[in-house]
């Protein structure tokens, strides 16, 4: 058998499999829908993670250090310290917040105006807001910076609030694992769904398979159309999953943009990119193929003509 005839035969079988799906579209569509939904779930998690990562990438200021000076440090001393810190390689900016400015801000934000008026002295010290350089914007980098700044004379206390960022990063990592696990489990689910559909297809075409075997068709020959069928189920399910994820992304894009706007961010939700889409279709087709291969191999072997 030459290569062209071989290719032609495969093409014919493939078209035949498509024809059968078109002839009984409802069952095929149901199978594809189940596959689509099963795949859409982990994909939605992937989209969420991808956006969470993009959103948190701009959160370096989350690593800002608040440097409280001792009460006795006057404004001149505060500026000296600020200049000293600014010279460090691992520092991007230093902002001076005077005690007076801090009090005014506090008065405005807290609504405790009258109560603060009762105080004779300003209880707040002069403060510096130190933003680490990008390279030092890690938990370890800021910790080192903190130690260095704390050692400077007249520095009372250095505060970093990285704990919640670390928690967030840990949460994202956890979700990533959950996404992987879900994808794995639902991938097995897809194999089983396709396997079961193919099993029913085979039962429906039992007499046909018997005839093929009677005239000398091998199990592989009888199996081929079912493999293409499984491939179609998987591919169709993959397309449906992408449509579902696309629709879900579009549905939440506006609320996310509004929410980001409220935080003064121009963050925009991004959907799956092209190469991920192609990978999803390839993976879905592969799962369909594997599911049908397992089911068809097993069930066709069990059919013996009489």
């Amino acid at each position: 058998m030459n290569l062209r005839a071989y290719g032609l035969r495969h093409a014919q079988t493939f078209v035949g499999a498509l024809g059968r799906i078109a002839a009984a579209p409802l069952g095929a569509l149901m199978t594809m829908a189940v596959i689509g939904i099963a795949l859409a779930l982990p994909l939605c998690l992937v989209v969420f993670l991808q956006n969470a990562r993009a959103a948190t990438a701009g959160w370096n200021d989350a690593f800002d250090l608040s440097v409280y000076l001792v009460k006795s440090a006057d404004l001149a001393r505060t500026r000296d310290i600020a200049t000293e810190i600014q010279k460090r390689g691992d520092v991007a900016t230093v902002q001076v917040v005077t005690a007076t400015a801090a009090l005014a801000q506090f008065r405005k934000d807290s609504g405790f105006g009258a109560a603060l008026d009762a105080l004779q002295d300003n209880p707040l010290p002069n403060t510096l807001i130190v933003t680490p350089a990008l390279a030092a914007s890690t938990p370890a980098g800021t910790a080192a910076l903190r130690t260095a700044i704390a050692a400077i004379a007249d520095v009372d206390k250095v505060q970093i609030d990285t704990a919640w960022v670390e928690r967030l990063l840990a949460m994202i990592d956890l979700l990533r694992r959950v996404a992987l696990l879900t994808a794995g489990l639902l991938g097995i689910g897809v194999v089983l769904i396709v396997g079961n559909t193919i099993r029913l297809d085979i039962l429906n075409r039992r007499t046909e398979i018997e005839v093929m075997k009677l005239v000398g068709g091998s199990d592989g020959f009888a199996r081929r159309p079912f493999l293409y069928g499984g491939l179609c189920y998987g591919f169709g399910g993959g397309v449906l999953a992408l449509v579902l994820v696309g629709a879900a992304t579009a549905a939440v894009a506006a609320p996310v943009a509004r929410l980001a706007g409220l935080y003064g961010s121009r963050f925009q939700l991004t959907g799956l990119d092209f190469s991920t889409g192609i990978a999803v279709l390839a993976a879905a087709s592969l799962l369909g193929w594997v599911g049908s291969w397992i089911a068809a191999t097993h069930h066709i072997r069990a059919i013996n003509p009489s």
Partner: protein, 221 residues
Amino acid sequence: MIQFDQVYKRYPNGREALAGVSFKVARGDMAFLTGHSGAGKSSILKLIGLIERPTRGRVIVDGRSTDSIKAGSIPQFRRQIGMVFQDHKLLHDRPVADNVALPLIIAGIARREIDKRVRAALDQVGLLGKERSRPLELSTGEQQRVGIARAVVAKPPLLIADEPTGNLDPDLALEVMRLFKRFNDVGVTVIVATHDVHLIDQFGARRIILGEGRVAVETPP
């Protein structure tokens, strides 16, 4: 070509269809297998086509004992046998041409060659022009002839037919038997199971008559 050696066949329900059948059909011979209904004609043909396995004894096809043929080699084995079935065994959702083409498709023959040979086979059984019909749109006799066309289309060296004339009128039955004779004339070994004694009286071929699960009478070639 075919040799049965004290062959027994007991079906799972306990029914003993064959009880010590022995006979030989040489390469290039033609033989009629006759006997009353239930005598075991179909059983013998199924043992030759490896659709059933003997309970005891040996079946030798083309010099090979069938018990040496593993499940994986059965397709290859069946491709050298053209089989006509009592119940036709056609694909009802495919046109006649596809049904006849099936053995050629399995053998990986090129499409153009397939079309040519399918038409030639349909011509031989008088069904030219019915290529696009579905089997269920045909009469039982026509369906039977589609089955015959499929059995001969790949030019197998061995042809076994189970009641190939069962649903044909006498003229057509005679025509089909002559067709088998023509195949035999070009060297194909032919075994036909039939209870139509009048029909085979018109052919000089050998008869193997079954009774009580054994070969009761065997006429010399």
